[in-house]
């Protein structure tokens, strides 16, 4: 029997009070996420249960019980306090998927800080931009990424503390502190920072069409939604071995790679290694993974490798599969039934929503290719893009909109309340994603309503790429758009006009690719560069990305009456 039981019954009888009751929210007087993810599990008598199984790319395995998670996160909280960091300070975590990432996240919350995890593959410019915007006070990192941090530090006056968690005996520079979680004093209990349900907890950066990335700020009560959706959508039960493949540099990796599973007190498995079908299947087999939360891009990469590697492993432990990040195509759902004997269940949500909004649920009929139905307690609709009134005709495409008020909704964009307010129209949160709803109430994803590029489930802002491209000595002007890709849904394509004296060449293309990869991230790296004499612009001089994008997607170009140089 699944946790959710009957979707229809849950939908009819749901209230957020009920969700609070499932977590005994407020019973202890403690609202801190850090408490719910560690100390409370011990209070429930499960302190000796393994909370984290970690495997590195070399095959090394480490296990941490919930008691260990409590004690180690206490050590992080104490260390941060001793360094003078205060509740409300933004503290960045910039490291690969090592145990210290997961445990320091809890430690930051326990001392009242705002955890700001960033994808460790970010280049210097992407890192600096996000640290500058958040006025981040401290950063936790490893030797591998210390060089990038050091090079950004001179431009970041607020960043006064750099904590290196694997420094060992290596010399550090002034302002850098070595901290070893394993060698730190084991402190059973600390005074966890008193927070209210509305105290800020996590700051995740996301990209938009224009301007710099925006920091979506979440609060401690987000755990109410993250906990109940973990129970009902991911269906985590007491004896589960759960694997979320997302990196905590992105919201899935914190909401469902830390908070949700640990609030449920289950065993979470983490693989700190790049993609390899063999390695992934071996990991599932070795640790008897039962519930797997992954992304369509990963599933399509596995499909590309075929059924042969699947047959070499015993994957019979798997009992529930869920996917998120981009629409899961029908072929992938059907393939997963062939490969694993069960389908992947697609789910939909965003950095701003903090938890799953629309999903396919255990026991509910899956329509392959559909995102499913709104979570109980979530009022979602497709609205007219001009009037923002709900569309009631089945199959008509509009914007996905959600009625505000769920606990994990972001509370603002950091330093950008004006943009936050623009996300709400006619009493709805407007997602920026287009979809239709069929006669049975199932949502069907269509695409973005703006120029943001969704590559492998991650949103990449074209403006950020174009700005970085302009720093390349050969580039006069550029436009970045998403082009279709069979694995990643979209990848970045750059259209580039060169400065006089520069010639297009393969050398230059590779140089430009690597330039962006190092400055921003591999996700932002153009997978293709097309050289043009000039870019299409409006009469006011604005580059018409939609024209270039439409060409890539084979779509109608639409109204070009404002085109300057047609």
């Amino acid at each position: 029997m699944s946790n959710i039981g009957s979707y229809e019954t849950r939908h009819r009888t749901f209230s957020w009070k009920l969700a609070e009751g499932e977590l005994e929210y407020g019973k202890s007087g403690n609202y801190n996420i850090g408490y719910f993810c560690t100390d409370r599990i011990g209070e429930l008598g499960n302190g000796t249960r393994v909370g984290l199984i970690w495997e590195g790319f070399t095959g090394e395995v480490r296990r941490y019980t919930y008691d260990d998670l409590r004690i180690h996160s206490n050590a992080f909280a104490i260390m941060l306090r001793q360094l003078g960091l205060q509740p409300g300070d933004r503290i960045c975590i910039f490291m690969d998927r090592i145990p210290e990432l997961y445990i320091s996240f809890i430690g930051i919350l326990k001392m009242g800080g705002i955890a700001q995890p960033l994808f460790s593959a970010f280049g210097e410019e992407a890192l600096a931009m996000r640290l500058e915007d958040a006025e981040t006070k401290a950063i936790l990192t490893t030797r591998k990424h210390l060089g990038k941090v050091r090079r950004t530090r001179p431009s970041l006056p607020h960043l006064t503390r750099t904590i290196v968690v694997d420094a060992g005996d290596r010399p550090l520079e002034r302002g850098e502190i070595a901290f070893s979680m394993e060698k730190a004093q084991r402190v059973e209990n600390i005074e966890i920072a008193k927070v209210t349900p509305e105290t800020p907890s996590v700051l995740h950066y996301t990209s938009g069409t224009t301007g710099k990335p925006k920091g979506a700020l979440h609060v401690h009560s987000s755990i109410i939604a993250q906990h109940i959706t973990t129970k009902w959508v991911l269906d985590l039960q007491d004896d589960e071995i759960y694997w979320c493949t997302a990196d905590p540099g992105w919201v899935t990796g914190t909401s469902y790679g830390i908070i949700g599973p640990w609030a449920c007190g289950v065993t979470q498995a983490v693989l700190d290694a790049g993609f390899s079908a063999h390695k992934w299947y071996a990991f599932i087999e070795k640790h008897n993974v039962t519930v797997w939360y992954s992304a369509p891009t990963a599933i399509r990469l596995l499909m590309k490798e075929g059924l042969e590697p699947v047959g070499k492993h015993n994957l019979s432990s798997l009992r529930h599969l869920v996917s998120v990040g981009e629409p899961l195509n029908a072929e992938a759902v059907i393939w997963s039934e062939k490969a694993f004997g069960r389908p992947f269940h697609d789910s939909y949500w965003q950095t701003e929503t903090g938890s799953i909004m629309i999903s396919n649920y255990p026991g509910m009929k899956i329509k392959p290719g559909s995102m499913g139905k709104p979570f109980p307690g979530i009022t979602a609709a497709v609205v007219n893009p001009k009037t923002f009134e709900p569309i009631t005709t089945a199959g008509t495409v509009g914007l996905i909109a959600i009625k505000p008020g769920w606990p994990s909704m972001f509370r603002t964009y950091w330093n950008n309340q004006e943009t936050y307010e623009k996300k709400f129209k006619n009493g709805w949160y407007i997602s920026g994603d287009r979809s239709s709803v069929d006669a049975d109430g199932y949502f069907w994803f269509v695409g973005r309503d703006d120029d943001v590029i969704n590559t492998a489930g991650h949103l990449v802002g074209p403006f950020e790429i174009e700005s970085a491209l302009l720093e390349h000595p050969a580039v006069a002007e550029s436009a970045a758009v998403g082009k279709p890709d069979p694995i990643n849904m979209e990848v970045v394509k750059a259209f580039i006009a060169l400065k006089p004296g520069n010639q297009k060449s393969d050398d230059l293309t590779i140089d430009i690719m690597n330039f962006i990869r190092k400055k921003l991230s591999p996700l932002a790296m153009p997978q293709e560069v097309e050289y043009v004499d000039s870019l299409p612009k409006t009469r006011s001089g604005k580059i018409m990305r939609r024209l270039l994008r439409a060409k890539e997607w084979g779509e109608e170009i639409g109204d070009v009456s404002t085109l300057e140089n047609d």
Binding site: R150, G274, F275, S276, A277, K304, T455, D507, N514
Partner: protein
């Protein structure tokens, strides 16, 4: 890094020279300039988190231009790029004159 064609020697490409070329390229382009990480022909590139599937595209393009070949998408798998030695094996399939 210049993309001059890889020099043909003694009627073929010498695998050890190619190994060194790719090791140097990976070290220069994919490791942080301050990194003390050692790269050998057996170092895990993809599963070891040095090169991800996105960055693989620029490495693939580098090889294609260097050896004037086209690496088919179905052969450009994470496994095939997971170490310099794996890449050499892939090149041997595509460029018959690569010799040990």
């Amino acid at each position: 890094m210049t993309l001059d064609l890889f020099p043909l020697q003694k009627g073929g490409y010498m695998a050890d020279d190619i190994r060194q070329l790719i090791v140097d390229y990976v070290r220069k382009e994919y490791l942080d300039e301050d990194s003390d990480q050692e790269i050998t022909a057996d170092t895990k590139l993809i599963s070891g988190g040095i090169v991800d599937s996105f960055s693989m595209v620029s490495l693939k393009l580098f090889l294609e231009k260097k050896f004037l070949i086209k690496i088919p998408d179905e052969k450009a798998t994470p496994e095939a790029f997971d170490s310099v030695n794996n890449i050499i094996n892939l090149l041997k399939e595509l460029v018959p004159s690569v010799k040990e």
